[in-house]
Amino acid sequence: MSALLIWIVALPFAGSLMLSILYLYHLKVKKVEEIYFSLIALLTPLISFLLTFWIFLKASDKKITFTAFKWLKVANFDIDISFLSDHLSLFMALFVSFIGWLIHIYAAGYMKGDEGYGKFFAYFNLFLGMMLLLVLANNPILMFFGWEGVGLCSYLLISYYFSDAQNVVAGNKAFIVNRVGDFGFIIGLSTLFIYIGSKGFDYASLQAHIGLVPSSMLSFIAFFLFVGAIGKSAQIPLYIWLPDAMAGPTPVSALIHAATMVTAGVYMVARFHFLYSLTPNVGEFIAVIGALSSLFAAIIATRQRDIKKILAYSTISQLGYMFVAVGLGFYASGLFHVFTHAFFKALLFMGAGAVILQLHHEQDIFHMGEMKEASKIVYWTFLVATLAISGIFPFAGFFSKDEILFGAFASGHYTIWAVELFTAGLTSYYMFRLFFTVFIAKKSSKRVEKPLILSPFVTYPLVVLAIGSVVAGFIGAPKILGGSNAIAHWFSFFGDEDIELSYTIEFGLMILNTVVALAGIYIAYKKFAGINLQNEAKIDGLIYHKFYIDEIYDALIVKNIQRLSWLIYAVFDKKFIDGTVMMIAKSFYHLGELVAVLQNGNVRFYAFSMLFGASLFFIYLMQVMG
């Protein structure tokens, strides 16, 4: 049973390896049909999912660990390649592999006819494998391996269309910004290692010995681990890579935003819950960062015109919700939102990708309009997803968002609660702004007359996800609505506070959330449902330019680092290092020149020197021999 764990992780890696070899064969030897690539690529995530599901069915209540082999052994520090399946990692692995698999299917339709079809799926499988490694790892070091792995894969996939310089810049940006976060993560991990590494470094022994860390250092560790999460999960101030990550093909965006990568930060905080529950001040800091990020990103999203950018900002915003939840200690609610978000965000991206595909890679929503007619499936599923993210009953987002808001309110963080409530209104506003503009509004003259017909590979996963976006919420339906809140029960080991407020307040909050969301929809309807996209829409202003954050970072950090690098180059490298090395070389040269004077090609001079030398020799001999 426990050996299955390694297969869950190893299969996507094996798939990736096979695809790479097959792709090389395809390039160097003989063309390979796309179908063979898709066969491998779609099979491995499916088997991973089925194995995970098998474990879920058979052993969901047990903690399973499997140690494959010893990875590092330095003195008395042991790091194993070891996997862990408990409620948290099993939960993550289930939806990561399932949604990852659906996105693979979608990608098979989306990438059809692309030159690097095999390469794309090799990266894709690797991405999924790295994420599963991150989730199922039994110690932070192995988790960090997966953590870096998803960073690498995101870089590879964001700059997938590498012939365009802009995409390469976006890939670099994602990678470099993530490095900043990872640096914090390494500091946190190393500090943790210094204090209790000798007691064993798997999660169980960390949890058991966390009391040995001095309390002042606990906050330090918790803070720096969270810096890693900020980078990976795109929160203020390191969120800037995520919108630019839209340069990759749309399935990549779906995979990054729904199933892999960005949820890693939330997972990590939940994984270290034993640490964060001891440092409530850091937890509050996390919640504040989350709240600020969600508000900030939502404000920016209201004025964007690129369909994928809007969705990217909405991801930052929703991740903010999750961090509010885990920061305040409501791990179950946070992970519930991760779960529901995975469904509707994957669906949104895939729907957006379908629209983009239909319109021959047009991404400006104001060049769209009337897409309702183009494909019924895309229209209805997108509507479901939009309702779900807006938090309308009974769609998935309603339950999870409500739970987070309820938690924030009940634990007395009224400011955060108010910010999040306002953000919820903004969310439904900008999502329906997108929806109405793309699907309802009179079509723009720039829109393609005859949209492309979509392949079933693209549309069927949408339907599955749409069903998921409706049903997923009921798993965590609160008691008050007649549900059993299976999610909270499942995650009972976190020991989340179970705050009971009176039913009136709980109901009141639910109604308030719904009213705020509906208000957002109403404003969006008023403003955008009836507009005619024939008239070129002009959007400008502070918000459209994303508060010039990118430019500010550029001026403050990037430019200064460049200047520093230039200074080091010009002064230290050129003058000092080069100067010293060249001085040594030149001095040998000049010495050589002095010797070379003797080698002047003048035969008579040679003869004379021979005479001179011989004379000296003989004089010496005469002196010695006497």
Binding site: K586, Y589, E593, A596, V597, Q599, N600, G601, N602, V603, R604, A607, F608, L611
Partner: protein, 105 residues
């Protein structure tokens, strides 16, 4: 019978004239003649010592040197012809293509 010293003095004088010729003259033929002069000065010494010590070794060597210098003359003169064709001059100072060239650093 003349003493060995007078013969040796002649030989040393010839050798010195040869050296001065090699060092100071520019015409390659004169340089060559000076070289031959030095060789013959050494020959003379060999023969003189051979007589003095009643041994034939010195005479054998001097015969070998004579033969050698004859062969050398053939080679040398043909080389000089080639050099003259290439450079158009008999001045030894311009035969310096193997010298260290001064380049810029």
């Amino acid at each position: 019978m003349m003493s060995i010293y007078s013969v040796l003095i002649v030989a040393i004088a010839l050798f010195s004239i040869g050296i001065v010729g090699v060092i100071s003259r520019k015409n390659i033929f004169i340089v060559y003649m000076s070289l031959e002069l030095m060789l013959n000065a050494v020959n003379l010494m060999f023969v003189a010592f051979s007589r003095y010590f009643h041994s034939l070794d010195g005479q054998i060597i001097s015969m070998m040197v004579i033969a050698l210098s004859a062969a050398e003359a053939a080679l040398f003169l043909s080389l000089v012809v080639l050099l003259y064709k290439r450079k158009g001059s008999l001045n030894v100072d311009i035969f310096n293509s193997l010298a260290q060239k001064r380049d810029n650093l």
